[in-house]
Amino acid sequence: MLTAFDDTAHAYRRRIYSFARYLLSNREEAEDVTQEVLLRLWRHQDGVEEERLGSWLLRVTRNACYDLLRRRRADATQPGMAASLGEEEAHELVSGEPGPQSLAETADFRRRLLAALGELGEPYKSIVILREVEGLSHREVGDALGIPEVTVRVQLHRARKKLRERLREAEP
Protein backbone atom coordinates (compact mmCIF):
# COMPACT_ATOMS: atom_id res chain seq x y z
CA MET A 1 0.00 0.00 0.00
CA LEU A 2 1.42 3.36 -0.96
CA THR A 3 1.76 5.91 1.77
CA ALA A 4 1.85 9.67 1.62
CA PHE A 5 5.62 9.48 1.85
CA ASP A 6 5.75 7.19 -1.18
CA ASP A 7 3.59 9.55 -3.22
CA THR A 8 5.73 12.54 -2.37
CA ALA A 9 8.99 10.70 -2.83
CA HIS A 10 8.01 9.34 -6.23
CA ALA A 11 6.70 12.72 -7.30
CA TYR A 12 9.98 14.42 -6.51
CA ARG A 13 12.60 11.74 -6.93
CA ARG A 14 13.22 12.47 -10.60
CA ARG A 15 13.74 16.17 -10.02
CA ILE A 16 16.07 15.52 -7.09
CA TYR A 17 18.05 12.92 -8.96
CA SER A 18 18.26 14.84 -12.21
CA PHE A 19 19.45 17.97 -10.43
CA ALA A 20 22.03 16.00 -8.47
CA ARG A 21 23.14 14.14 -11.55
CA TYR A 22 23.84 17.28 -13.53
CA LEU A 23 25.56 18.89 -10.58
CA LEU A 24 27.78 15.91 -9.88
CA SER A 25 28.15 14.32 -13.34
CA ASN A 26 28.14 10.97 -11.64
CA ARG A 27 25.32 8.44 -11.48
CA GLU A 28 26.32 6.61 -8.32
CA GLU A 29 26.86 9.77 -6.34
CA ALA A 30 23.60 11.23 -7.62
CA GLU A 31 21.80 8.12 -6.39
CA ASP A 32 23.46 8.46 -3.01
CA VAL A 33 22.39 12.08 -2.76
CA THR A 34 18.86 11.23 -3.85
CA GLN A 35 18.66 8.60 -1.15
CA GLU A 36 20.00 11.00 1.46
CA VAL A 37 17.56 13.73 0.46
CA LEU A 38 14.60 11.37 0.54
CA LEU A 39 15.68 10.17 3.97
CA ARG A 40 15.59 13.75 5.18
CA LEU A 41 12.15 14.07 3.64
CA TRP A 42 11.15 11.01 5.64
CA ARG A 43 12.47 12.56 8.81
CA HIS A 44 11.05 16.04 8.30
CA GLN A 45 7.88 15.31 6.46
CA ASP A 46 5.77 16.66 9.31
CA GLY A 47 7.70 19.88 9.45
CA VAL A 48 7.78 21.15 5.89
CA GLU A 49 4.86 23.06 4.43
CA GLU A 50 3.58 21.45 1.28
CA GLU A 51 3.89 24.51 -0.91
CA ARG A 52 7.55 24.87 0.09
CA LEU A 53 8.37 21.21 -0.29
CA GLY A 54 9.72 21.45 -3.83
CA SER A 55 12.12 24.30 -3.09
CA TRP A 56 13.16 22.73 0.19
CA LEU A 57 14.03 19.46 -1.54
CA LEU A 58 16.07 21.24 -4.20
CA ARG A 59 17.93 23.26 -1.60
CA VAL A 60 18.75 20.16 0.43
CA THR A 61 19.84 18.43 -2.79
CA ARG A 62 22.19 21.22 -3.72
CA ASN A 63 23.70 21.33 -0.22
CA ALA A 64 24.16 17.57 -0.20
CA CYS A 65 25.86 17.70 -3.61
CA TYR A 66 28.25 20.39 -2.51
CA ASP A 67 29.04 18.58 0.73
CA LEU A 68 29.94 15.61 -1.40
CA LEU A 69 31.99 17.69 -3.83
CA ARG A 70 33.95 19.16 -0.93
CA ARG A 71 34.63 15.67 0.40
CA ARG A 72 35.54 14.55 -3.09
CA ARG A 73 38.05 17.38 -3.44
CA ALA A 74 39.57 16.50 -0.09
CA ASP A 75 39.94 12.89 -1.18
CA ALA A 76 40.81 13.43 -4.83
CA THR A 77 44.02 11.92 -6.07
CA GLN A 78 43.56 13.49 -9.46
CA PRO A 79 43.19 17.23 -9.65
CA GLY A 80 40.29 18.43 -11.75
CA MET A 81 38.47 15.13 -11.38
CA ALA A 82 35.32 16.85 -10.27
CA ALA A 83 34.86 18.79 -13.44
CA SER A 84 35.16 16.01 -15.96
CA LEU A 85 32.42 13.81 -17.27
CA GLY A 86 32.92 10.10 -17.22
CA GLU A 87 32.51 8.31 -20.52
CA GLU A 88 29.32 6.63 -19.36
CA GLU A 89 27.78 9.89 -18.24
CA ALA A 90 28.77 11.63 -21.44
CA HIS A 91 27.16 8.93 -23.53
CA GLU A 92 23.91 9.05 -21.63
CA LEU A 93 23.62 12.80 -21.40
CA VAL A 94 24.52 13.58 -24.99
CA SER A 95 22.20 11.09 -26.58
CA GLY A 96 19.20 13.34 -26.93
CA GLU A 97 17.35 14.75 -29.89
CA PRO A 98 19.90 16.08 -32.39
CA GLY A 99 19.48 19.46 -33.98
CA PRO A 100 19.92 20.25 -37.62
CA GLN A 101 23.63 19.48 -37.33
CA SER A 102 24.95 15.99 -37.79
CA LEU A 103 24.65 13.51 -34.97
CA ALA A 104 28.39 13.46 -34.38
CA GLU A 105 28.68 17.21 -34.34
CA THR A 106 25.70 17.52 -32.02
CA ALA A 107 27.11 14.92 -29.68
CA ASP A 108 30.43 16.71 -29.65
CA PHE A 109 28.80 20.07 -28.97
CA ARG A 110 26.79 18.63 -26.12
CA ARG A 111 29.83 17.01 -24.60
CA ARG A 112 31.66 20.33 -24.68
CA LEU A 113 28.59 22.11 -23.34
CA LEU A 114 28.28 19.69 -20.42
CA ALA A 115 31.98 20.02 -19.69
CA ALA A 116 31.62 23.79 -19.65
CA LEU A 117 28.57 23.45 -17.41
CA GLY A 118 30.56 21.26 -15.06
CA GLU A 119 33.14 23.99 -14.72
CA LEU A 120 30.66 26.72 -13.86
CA GLY A 121 30.75 27.97 -10.31
CA GLU A 122 27.76 28.49 -8.10
CA PRO A 123 25.15 29.76 -8.22
CA TYR A 124 25.44 29.79 -12.00
CA LYS A 125 25.55 26.04 -12.36
CA SER A 126 22.47 25.42 -10.25
CA ILE A 127 20.57 28.22 -11.94
CA VAL A 128 21.30 26.90 -15.43
CA ILE A 129 20.39 23.34 -14.48
CA LEU A 130 17.17 24.27 -12.73
CA ARG A 131 16.00 26.81 -15.30
CA GLU A 132 17.17 25.45 -18.61
CA VAL A 133 17.40 21.71 -18.03
CA GLU A 134 14.76 21.11 -15.39
CA GLY A 135 12.44 23.79 -16.74
CA LEU A 136 11.63 25.58 -13.51
CA SER A 137 10.35 29.15 -13.73
CA HIS A 138 12.61 31.98 -12.61
CA ARG A 139 10.52 32.30 -9.48
CA GLU A 140 10.78 28.61 -8.66
CA VAL A 141 14.52 28.74 -9.15
CA GLY A 142 14.69 31.74 -6.84
CA ASP A 143 12.63 29.96 -4.20
CA ALA A 144 14.83 26.90 -4.40
CA LEU A 145 18.08 28.82 -4.14
CA GLY A 146 16.87 31.51 -1.79
CA ILE A 147 17.49 34.41 -4.16
CA PRO A 148 15.15 37.00 -5.68
CA GLU A 149 13.67 36.31 -9.10
CA VAL A 150 15.35 39.31 -10.68
CA THR A 151 18.70 38.02 -9.46
CA VAL A 152 17.96 34.67 -11.04
CA ARG A 153 17.39 36.34 -14.41
CA VAL A 154 20.58 38.38 -14.23
CA GLN A 155 22.71 35.47 -13.06
CA LEU A 156 21.21 33.15 -15.65
CA HIS A 157 22.32 35.55 -18.36
CA ARG A 158 25.78 35.74 -16.85
CA ALA A 159 25.94 31.98 -16.64
CA ARG A 160 24.98 31.43 -20.26
CA LYS A 161 27.43 34.14 -21.29
CA LYS A 162 30.18 32.26 -19.44
CA LEU A 163 29.16 29.07 -21.21
CA ARG A 164 29.24 30.85 -24.55
CA GLU A 165 32.70 32.24 -23.87
CA ARG A 166 34.02 28.83 -22.81
CA LEU A 167 32.56 27.11 -25.82
CA ARG A 168 33.97 29.74 -28.12
CA GLU A 169 37.45 29.24 -26.59
CA ALA A 170 37.15 25.48 -26.86
CA GLU A 171 35.96 25.49 -30.46
CA PRO A 172 37.80 22.96 -32.56
Partner: protein, 184 residues
Protein backbone atom coordinates in the same frame (compact mmCIF):
# COMPACT_ATOMS: atom_id res chain seq x y z
CA UNK B 1 33.62 5.87 -5.48
CA UNK B 2 33.12 6.96 -1.96
CA UNK B 3 29.58 6.48 -0.84
CA UNK B 4 27.83 8.86 1.40
CA UNK B 5 27.59 7.21 4.79
CA UNK B 6 24.15 7.79 6.12
CA UNK B 7 24.45 8.24 9.84
CA UNK B 8 22.10 9.23 12.55
CA UNK B 9 19.03 7.81 10.86
CA UNK B 10 15.79 8.72 12.49
CA UNK B 11 14.16 6.14 14.71
CA UNK B 12 10.71 5.95 13.16
CA UNK B 13 8.00 3.42 12.93
CA UNK B 14 5.89 4.76 10.10
CA UNK B 15 2.19 4.37 10.70
CA UNK B 16 0.21 3.65 7.62
CA UNK B 17 -2.46 6.16 8.45
CA UNK B 18 -4.86 7.20 5.72
CA UNK B 19 -3.09 9.56 3.38
CA UNK B 20 -5.69 12.26 3.97
CA UNK B 21 -5.08 12.17 7.70
CA UNK B 22 -1.34 12.52 7.22
CA UNK B 23 -1.66 15.40 4.81
CA UNK B 24 -4.22 17.13 7.02
CA UNK B 25 -1.72 17.35 9.90
CA UNK B 26 -0.26 20.84 9.78
CA UNK B 27 3.47 21.27 10.35
CA UNK B 28 4.24 22.46 13.87
CA UNK B 29 5.35 26.09 14.13
CA UNK B 30 7.41 25.01 17.08
CA UNK B 31 9.54 22.68 14.99
CA UNK B 32 13.04 23.88 14.27
CA UNK B 33 14.72 22.21 11.28
CA UNK B 34 18.05 21.39 12.85
CA UNK B 35 19.28 20.40 9.38
CA UNK B 36 19.07 24.00 8.25
CA UNK B 37 20.71 25.37 11.37
CA UNK B 38 23.66 23.12 10.66
CA UNK B 39 24.97 23.59 14.20
CA UNK B 40 27.16 20.55 14.59
CA UNK B 41 28.77 18.00 12.26
CA UNK B 42 26.37 15.11 12.42
CA UNK B 43 29.02 12.45 12.21
CA UNK B 44 30.57 13.71 15.45
CA UNK B 45 27.47 13.88 17.59
CA UNK B 46 27.55 11.84 20.77
CA UNK B 47 23.78 11.88 21.00
CA UNK B 48 21.15 12.37 18.36
CA UNK B 49 17.45 12.00 18.98
CA UNK B 50 14.89 12.47 16.23
CA UNK B 51 11.39 11.52 17.26
CA UNK B 52 8.43 12.46 15.11
CA UNK B 53 4.74 12.56 15.79
CA UNK B 54 4.06 8.97 14.79
CA UNK B 55 6.54 7.32 17.14
CA UNK B 56 5.71 9.78 19.92
CA UNK B 57 2.07 8.70 19.78
CA UNK B 58 3.21 5.12 20.22
CA UNK B 59 5.42 6.13 23.11
CA UNK B 60 2.50 7.92 24.72
CA UNK B 61 0.24 4.92 24.28
CA UNK B 62 2.83 2.57 25.67
CA UNK B 63 3.59 4.71 28.71
CA UNK B 64 0.15 4.70 30.32
CA UNK B 65 1.65 3.81 33.70
CA UNK B 66 3.17 7.30 33.72
CA UNK B 67 0.22 9.53 32.92
CA UNK B 68 2.08 12.84 33.06
CA UNK B 69 4.80 11.67 30.74
CA UNK B 70 2.28 9.98 28.50
CA UNK B 71 0.09 13.07 28.28
CA UNK B 72 2.99 15.39 27.53
CA UNK B 73 4.49 13.16 24.89
CA UNK B 74 1.10 12.48 23.32
CA UNK B 75 0.71 16.15 22.56
CA UNK B 76 4.08 16.52 20.92
CA UNK B 77 4.94 16.51 17.24
CA UNK B 78 8.66 16.24 17.56
CA UNK B 79 11.56 15.87 19.93
CA UNK B 80 14.97 16.52 18.44
CA UNK B 81 18.25 16.57 20.32
CA UNK B 82 21.84 16.90 19.21
CA UNK B 83 24.75 16.73 21.64
CA UNK B 84 28.20 17.59 20.36
CA UNK B 85 31.33 16.91 22.42
CA UNK B 86 33.63 19.91 22.35
CA UNK B 87 36.91 18.23 23.21
CA UNK B 88 39.38 18.98 20.45
CA UNK B 89 36.91 21.18 18.60
CA UNK B 90 36.91 24.87 17.81
CA UNK B 91 34.67 26.13 20.59
CA UNK B 92 34.50 29.66 19.23
CA UNK B 93 33.21 28.43 15.90
CA UNK B 94 30.52 26.43 17.70
CA UNK B 95 29.58 29.45 19.77
CA UNK B 96 29.28 31.50 16.59
CA UNK B 97 26.93 28.93 15.09
CA UNK B 98 24.87 28.95 18.26
CA UNK B 99 24.70 32.74 17.98
CA UNK B 100 23.40 32.42 14.42
CA UNK B 101 20.84 29.89 15.57
CA UNK B 102 19.66 32.35 18.20
CA UNK B 103 19.20 34.98 15.50
CA UNK B 104 17.37 32.44 13.39
CA UNK B 105 14.93 31.80 16.20
CA UNK B 106 14.38 35.46 16.97
CA UNK B 107 13.74 36.25 13.33
CA UNK B 108 10.96 33.73 13.40
CA UNK B 109 9.17 35.07 16.44
CA UNK B 110 10.71 32.88 19.12
CA UNK B 111 10.95 34.63 22.45
CA UNK B 112 13.87 34.33 24.81
CA UNK B 113 12.99 33.10 28.25
CA UNK B 114 16.51 32.52 29.40
CA UNK B 115 19.76 33.93 28.10
CA UNK B 116 22.62 33.10 30.39
CA UNK B 117 26.28 33.73 29.79
CA UNK B 118 28.66 33.13 32.63
CA UNK B 119 32.15 31.74 32.97
CA UNK B 120 32.28 30.92 29.29
CA UNK B 121 29.15 28.84 29.31
CA UNK B 122 26.04 29.91 27.45
CA UNK B 123 22.47 28.75 27.68
CA UNK B 124 19.50 29.98 25.72
CA UNK B 125 15.94 28.90 26.28
CA UNK B 126 13.48 30.04 23.64
CA UNK B 127 9.78 29.43 23.38
CA UNK B 128 7.29 29.81 20.58
CA UNK B 129 3.83 30.90 21.54
CA UNK B 130 0.74 30.80 19.42
CA UNK B 131 -2.67 31.88 20.65
CA UNK B 132 -1.55 31.79 24.26
CA UNK B 133 -0.24 28.26 23.88
CA UNK B 134 3.40 27.27 23.94
CA UNK B 135 4.00 25.32 20.74
CA UNK B 136 7.75 25.07 20.79
CA UNK B 137 10.69 24.96 23.13
CA UNK B 138 14.28 25.25 22.00
CA UNK B 139 17.29 25.10 24.24
CA UNK B 140 20.80 25.87 23.05
CA UNK B 141 23.67 25.29 25.40
CA UNK B 142 27.43 25.56 25.30
CA UNK B 143 29.71 24.21 28.03
CA UNK B 144 33.36 24.98 27.24
CA UNK B 145 35.54 21.92 27.21
CA UNK B 146 32.53 19.69 27.65
CA UNK B 147 29.73 19.75 25.13
CA UNK B 148 27.25 21.84 23.22
CA UNK B 149 23.69 20.83 22.56
CA UNK B 150 20.42 21.80 21.00
CA UNK B 151 17.06 20.49 22.10
CA UNK B 152 13.86 21.26 20.20
CA UNK B 153 10.46 20.13 21.37
CA UNK B 154 7.47 20.92 19.20
CA UNK B 155 3.77 20.45 19.75
CA UNK B 156 1.31 21.16 22.53
CA UNK B 157 3.43 22.07 25.52
CA UNK B 158 1.30 22.51 28.60
CA UNK B 159 2.98 24.64 31.27
CA UNK B 160 1.28 22.61 34.01
CA UNK B 161 2.66 19.41 32.61
CA UNK B 162 6.06 20.97 32.18
CA UNK B 163 6.03 22.01 35.81
CA UNK B 164 5.20 18.52 37.02
CA UNK B 165 7.66 16.85 34.70
CA UNK B 166 10.26 19.35 35.75
CA UNK B 167 10.19 17.80 39.16
CA UNK B 168 10.18 14.26 37.87
CA UNK B 169 12.97 14.70 35.37
CA UNK B 170 14.88 17.36 37.27
CA UNK B 171 13.99 20.25 35.03
CA UNK B 172 13.77 22.82 37.82
CA UNK B 173 13.77 25.88 35.60
CA UNK B 174 10.32 24.90 34.53
CA UNK B 175 8.92 23.56 37.75
CA UNK B 176 7.81 26.86 39.25
CA UNK B 177 5.26 27.63 36.60
CA UNK B 178 2.23 28.61 38.65
CA UNK B 179 -1.06 27.07 37.66
CA UNK B 180 -4.19 28.17 39.44
CA UNK B 181 -5.84 25.51 41.47
CA UNK B 182 -3.34 22.75 40.85
CA UNK B 183 -0.53 21.49 42.97
CA UNK B 184 2.88 21.23 41.36
Amino acid sequence: MKKIILQGLALALFLSLPAAALQAQPPSPGLVPLEELNLFPRDKLSVEVNLGGAILHLVAAAGKDDPDFSKLVGGLQAINVQVFPLKGEDGEAVKARIGRAVHWLEERGWKANVRVREKGQETYVYMKEEGGQIVGLTVLTFQPGDEAAVINIAGRIDPAQIGRLGQKFNVPQLEKVPVKGKKP
